[in-house]
Amino acid sequence: MLDILVKNGRIVDGSGLPAFSGDVAIAGGRLVQVGGQLSAEARTEIDAAGRVVAPGFIDPHTHFDAQLLWDGQARPALEHGVTTVVHGNCSLSLAPLKVEHRARLVKMFQQIEEMPDAAFQGAFEWTWESFGDYVAALRGRVALNVAPLAGHTPIRMWVMGADAQKRAAKPDEIRDMQDLLRECLEAGAVGLSTSYVDMDENFAPVPSRHAHYDELDALSAVLGEYGRMLQVVPEFYNTDVTVARVDQLAELSLAHGIPTTFSPLFDSSVVPDNVPRVLERVAEQFARGARVWPQVQTRPIDISFSLDMASLYFIQLPMWYMLLRMPRAQKLALLGNEGTRKGLIDAAEPGGDTQRFAGLRVRDSQDASLIGRTLGEIAKERGTTPAGALLDLSLAEDLGVHFLAARMGHEDPRRIGPILANDLVHVGASDGGAHIQSFATYGDTGYLFSEFVRKGRHLSLEHAVRKITGDTAQIWGIGDRGLLRPGLAADVVIFDPDTIGRADELPARDMPEGGMRYVRGARGVGAVIVNGEVTWTAEGGYTDARPGVVAHA
């Protein structure tokens, strides 16, 4: 008897080949048959008529390291069809990590990935130091598959202690790091992550940034023994340096026979030649035989702010910017002053032109009825202007209201579509589980289909599915996933190609101890199957199944 029989689906198998109609049979956690009409008995039968049956999506850039320990479903990533996540990116992983280094590393996580205290303290029990014991802590707890990276920063801390954040490593320390990385890879690490960018809570460079090239070369040699991935955060804010990093990664890739990937890479009208120049160099290096995969996100970048901080969003309005830089008490007093208020409004809306703030949306407020509405709408309702509404709402909640300037970067589908369709571009960089109090890092897969398949037609359905399944599995060497083929792991997502997308971004108070984060639900996804078990359905929500495995263990 089969475990699951998915009937009458439109099968998009992750290879990029044309879709075909048929059934998908699952038993023992594996795909048994893909295509054809089956009449075998199954414990669960799913009618997929009119819907796509595809491999589960693989998200190659997340920071679910801690969340998986108190939420093994990585909500809401799973309901978007994500069945495998890579975490431990950007030099930061929770293992290998000595007890005495926990507090330091958690501070770095909090600073860099904007994750609150509660995500690390009290929500789970720290039972490990070694990578193997961390992997053991995940086993039986996760509903989706995990492919953890070993972070360069904790590896340095383990070997060098406090000196990890002060200096280059000595030869014997590099050898110790190699041995430690080898242990991690044996225990299931999918590769090594490092960063040239990140700063700790004191704005000091994280340990990985103190490594010289010989150290990264030595660690890459160990990756070469296993054919595993090197993930890097380059100086993405400078095109010339990013291009230089592409060259450096290419040398490591060629010397050690390893795949490498870097993120983020995003488009901006302010620096329009950034992505084209980087991709040109990537193509040159691929032509030499190197593997240097740039990760590009699908979603546009929004700017979020409150009047509590002096966001650069206001730097073109000198009066606003100067006022927002003042000490809080002084700022509040001035914002409440009628003369100052009039001056601020006049500066933002010269000659009564109210366009500047009219499109801003309320992201978070104690008044739930305001969330998601534009200042233009609210101003009209209240008989004021958008700038007036911005001030009134902020003052009413002691500057606690957050606003959103949507689609400020990486927002032009005519530019982003061809980038995502490029065969040398790795669709990723969602940052799932990070920056949770700034924006929602979920639903990028749905957005790929809604914006770039249905609306812009930059990718075919089959191409888009391949980009986030078969291609991702191949890039990361996750051999038994990413395709619908008999014998492979039964990670399957069933979705409506006409409606799949991402829901609106909303604040949710579902973090440990009631903490807030931004989330997005899924649209158009019908069911998500991981290793042959149903983990989520549109009708029933999340199930109790915990079939996730460590991809390389």
Binding site: V270, L312, I315
Partner: protein, 67 residues
């Protein structure tokens, strides 16, 4: 010298300031500043608005980019 400074979104959803530079030999480049660095640059240049950064020597950036 600084040719232009433009607000742009950063990777983490915060606004950043992209500064366009033009060197004496005609070469151009851009430098991206986070909020604190941008504040430092404005203060160093005694600029009240980003428009006032135009024409400032590129060496101003050396100070603000120090870790």
């Amino acid at each position: 010298m600084i040719d232009e400074a433009i607000v742009s979104p950063g990777h983490d959803g915060q606004a950043v300031l992209v500064v366009r530079l033009r060197y004496a030999n005609g070469a151009t480049d851009t430098v991206t500043l986070a909020a604190e660095q941008a504040r430092k640059l404005m203060d160093d240049c005694a600029a009240e608005s980003v428009a006032e950064l135009r024409g400032q020597p590129w060496q101003r950036l050396l100070h603000v980019l120090e870790p």
